[in-house]
């Protein structure tokens, strides 16, 4: 019956009508299926993040490790690429990380001890004075470490080991290792590899989130 029905009308007119009908139908179906398929692919994909860590001070050590450890806890695949001063964050001993309010006008200089009103004071010390006080950086670092501890914020070493435990990949930049004369023995053995930009970029291309810190 169906075969007969298809054959009866004049051929040219039917072909055009048929093509149109098929195309319209395909458009409708394609849209429906594509959406479902895309949602399926999105749901099945493990999110991923790559971070370029470029800073080696105590304060700036936090953002990359906080984001990496949290992403890993969310089940994401995370790779961190350490370059320039960021290599300091791969060293075995992280206790030498320092922070300085000198030339860092946004950093509040507050005391982590004493009564509340005293702690609330923002010490506005001119750069020229900061630069001549002996061991000023060591003092500022000590104060910041105390503040970190008072606020229940993790130590960098703890965040880093949580990252490693959760499978975050730590990658060193070979060029800056050479440039600054680092020895690989200075870094933790968990560093997965030492590579260049050409290895990192394809990883970043496929990542859902890529950050430069």
């Amino acid at each position: 019956m169906e075969m007969q029905a298809l054959r009866t009308p004049p051929a040219a007119a039917t072909d055009a009508a048929l093509d149109r009908a098929i195309n319209e139908r395909i458009d409708v179906l394609l849209e429906q299926r594509l959406e479902a398929k895309l949602a399926e692919i999105k749901a099945a994909k493990t999110p991923s993040m790559t971070i370029i860590a470029t800073k080696g001070t105590l304060d700036w050590a936090y953002p990359p490790f906080i984001l990496a450890s949290t992403a890993a806890a969310l089940g994401w695949n995370v790779s961190m690429f350490f370059t320039f001063y960021g290599l300091e964050l791969l060293k075995k001993d992280l206790r030498k990380l320092k922070v300085s309010p000198l030339g860092n006008p946004a950093m509040p200089m507050k005391m982590p001890m004493g009564p509340k009103w005293f702690r609330a004071i923002g010490w506005n010390i001119p750069n020229v004075v900061q630069s001549v006080i002996p061991a000023y950086e060591a003092f500022a670092t000590k104060m910041m470490k105390k503040t970190i501890k008072n606020n229940g914020v993790a130590e960098i070493a703890e965040l880093r080991s949580l990252c490693l435990e959760a499978g975050v990949e730590l990658i060193g930049c070979q060029m800056t290792v050479d440039l600054f004369g680092y020895k690989r023995a200075q870094f933790i053995p968990e560093v997965k590899e030492y590579v260049g930009a050409a290895t990192f970029l394809p990883m970043a291309k496929d990542a859902d989130v890529s950050l430069f810190i």
Partner: protein, 78 residues
């Protein structure tokens, strides 16, 4: 507050972001599917963060409550 039976308790009081989440994740690793973890935290950011963690990881957050200065969460392992 709602009384929920739980299998493990995590004291995350005094800890700041992201430690409550990281410790929650670790504690969940020790549980079996369907078991419930109780988390007590003081970080005000943890209220939103625990919700986001639950949505992202698919572990249902059964309840969130404020008890004095602390937040109490019950999370079920998926």
């Amino acid at each position: 507050m709602t009384q929920v039976n739980f299998d493990k308790e995590l004291d995350a009081r005094g800890l700041s972001c992201p430690l409550p989440i990281l410790k929650t994740k670790k504690a969940l690793n020790d549980l079996m599917s369907g078991q419930v973890l109780k988390v007590v935290a003081t970080d005000p950011g943890s209220v939103k963060d625990m919700q986001a963690f639950a949505t992202q990881t698919g572990n249902p957050l059964l309840s969130t409550a404020e008890e004095g200065k602390a937040y109490v969460f019950f999370m079920q392992k998926k």
